[in-house]
Structures are given as structure tokens and as C-alpha cells.
Subunit: 181 residues, 2 copies
Amino acid sequence: MRNDPHPIPGGESLLFLTDDQIRRGIEAMYFAYRAFTADPDLILEEIGYGRAHHRALHFITRDPGLTVTALLEVLGVTKQSLNRVLRTLIEDGLVDSRVGRRDRRERQLHLTEKGVALERRLSEAQRARVRAAYRAAGPQAVAGFRQVLEAMMDGEMLAQFRALREAPDQRLAPRRAGSAG
Amino acid sequence: MRNDPHPIPGGESLLFLTDDQIRRGIEAMYFAYRAFTADPDLILEEIGYGRAHHRALHFITRDPGLTVTALLEVLGVTKQSLNRVLRTLIEDGLVDSRVGRRDRRERQLHLTEKGVALERRLSEAQRARVRAAYRAAGPQAVAGFRQVLEAMMDGEMLAQFRALREAPDQRLAPRRAGSAG
DNA sequence: AAGGATAGGGCAGCCTTGTTGACTTTCCAA
DNA sequence: TTGGAAAGTCAACAAGGCTGCCCTATCCTT
């Protein structure tokens, strides 16, 4: 298992599949993810929030009016965990939780002006880094980056990711189809 | 700031730098990182360890005999935080902490057989996913993936990352007197 | 030989953000 | 009307970050 021992008949060089290359990719992913979160983390620290707050603000911005359950599924955490974060955002006047119209058990989540302002500040910081990296690497590299990231996701997660793209302002929730918690 | 308003005179299409594309990249990074850690997380949970244990095992494997301080710098955490994790690994007989030869204040970290076995199991699980993603995306996409990840790192982190590459079995730390590791 | 600097570690205690379990409110269907 | 299911909330615990302070052993310089 030290080096990929499968010179698959097909022509192309498979050197990019050696264990060493894979391991370098794993390390790059680890370091890059730390860099990726570093800028918003600084802002969050100022105001006593954490990454979980940023994530909630992001997906509420992405899909205004989504329910707690829908947000839960996107984030892949338990509702208790999300609830704590959401409660502080609501108490601090960044998120508005409205009783659902079609189902009064549901809460529909929107950002307040203050919430929009913070979300924008956080996103801008994060986007600046990603934009710089994209610009430095060029469009072809970016296409490859996206391809590999998507190929890393499993089926259910990929579906969630694509659902965000395809239904930019649509509720994700109502499908009864079972998805694990 | 909604869409990149800089049609830089230079020719290429800059559509890959729109805020929308950047945001998709950010979301892809978020989901992919979750997928990326999912497989080892399952194994770690079985035995009551966390990601921090995996990271320590990884970098000790990467650079056997490295000191606590060197590991600290690679991981970017505090001594106290690392120490808790390292202590359990040593107590459980996965890591061996030997007094340094050239400097007896230092502790040189090695994996035991048991440690090697666990690290291999964790790495194999993670590599399997990355390898599958690489294979699916192809060598050109992988090159782009790596380019973007490196472009995301800041200078110091990039230096650390490259130091791992260039000195695969060398101490990262002070190099007082050159002695075999 | 003495004193400061460095490597490593321990303890106390804080925070965020995961987790499970138990609970209320609301809806819907038998 | 009643009972189950679903949405959301509250309580308590754990992992693993963090800081602060203290301690020993070991270097290294004076």
C-alpha cells in the first residue's frame, strides 16, 4: 500500500494517484481549510461569536425564510446544537424568527439589517481570500479545484450542495424522504 | 461588491471571479471538508478519540522523532491543548516519548507498533476517499485543486507546508548540530 | 558556579460547539 | 377527541480549543 500499484492499462500517467501525492493533498486540505476560516474567525472573535454563528448567517442569507429543520439538515448538526447558536443570534437582534404561516410549529428565519451587515462583513473577509486565490491560480485551476471538491462529497451531501445551486430561494425541507440525522 | 466590477484589461473571461462563483467555492469547501474528515471520524469515535489525535498521529508519522514544540508549530495549537491529546496517546501506548539525545529537555516523538497500526487505518480511510476523488476528477483537475489550496494559504503557513515537502524526514526545529534523526 | 532562557509538563478554569435525553407546542389523522 | 409525529426548546455532559500560573530539568552565557 505504499505506492499505488495499479498501472491501469489506459495510457495516462497515474503518478498523481501515488500515496505520496494523496498525502500531500490531504495536508494541503488541512492547511488550506485553516487559512480559509482564519479571516472570519478574527471578526467573530471580536464580538464573541464562533464559526457556527457564521455558518448559520451564511445559510440564512442564502435562503431567507428557511426553517430551523432545513437549516439543521444543511449544517448536519443536531437541533440542540444549532438552537444554542440561533438563540444568541435572535437575542442579539441579528436573526428574526417568525412563526410559520402554513405550519405554526415551524419558525422561518430571516436576517435583520444588523444581521445582514455582519454577514456581509464576514463573507467579504472570506471571499477576499478565496478571490485572491482564484485570481492567482487562474480559471482552469479553479475548475479543477471545484471538480475535486465535488468528487470528495458523498451522494447525499452532493445532492444538498447542488440543491443550493438549483433552488437559490426555495425551501429545501418539505421532502419527506428519509435523510439521516 | 455584488459582482466583480473589474473587467481587467487582459483578455480572459473573469466570470470565475464573480461573487456568486466565489460563494459556490466557499460552500464546496465547507461541504468537502466535512466529507474529508468523515471517514477517519467514524474510526476515531469507536475508540474514543477525536480529530486532534488523528492530526498528532499524522504528523508524527510524517516526521518521526519530531519534538513537541515542532509538532505544536505544525498544528498551530497551544501546548496545553496538544499536551492533553499527547498524554492520552502516550498512556494508551500509541506514542513513545523519548528524551532527546542532543538536548535532553526535548522529547522526541515516535509511534509504537500499535500507533502505526491505528495511523495506517485512519490514513487509509481518508486516502481512499481522496484517491477516489482524484481518480474521478483526473490529473489536470488535481493540479488545479492543489494550486488553489496553496494559493489560499498565507506566507507562513505555506512555508510550513513546503517545509514538510522538502524535508520529509528532517527535524523542522532548530538544527543546532546536524545529527541523524 | 550562577542566573537567565528554553523545553516540557501540570493544574485550574474558561469558551464554543458538538452530543443525548426529556419536555412543550402544534399539527394531523384515526 | 385522542394519540402519534414533528418542530422547537431546555438541561446537562464531553471534546478540545484557549489563558494564566507554576514547576522541573536542562541548556547556555556570563
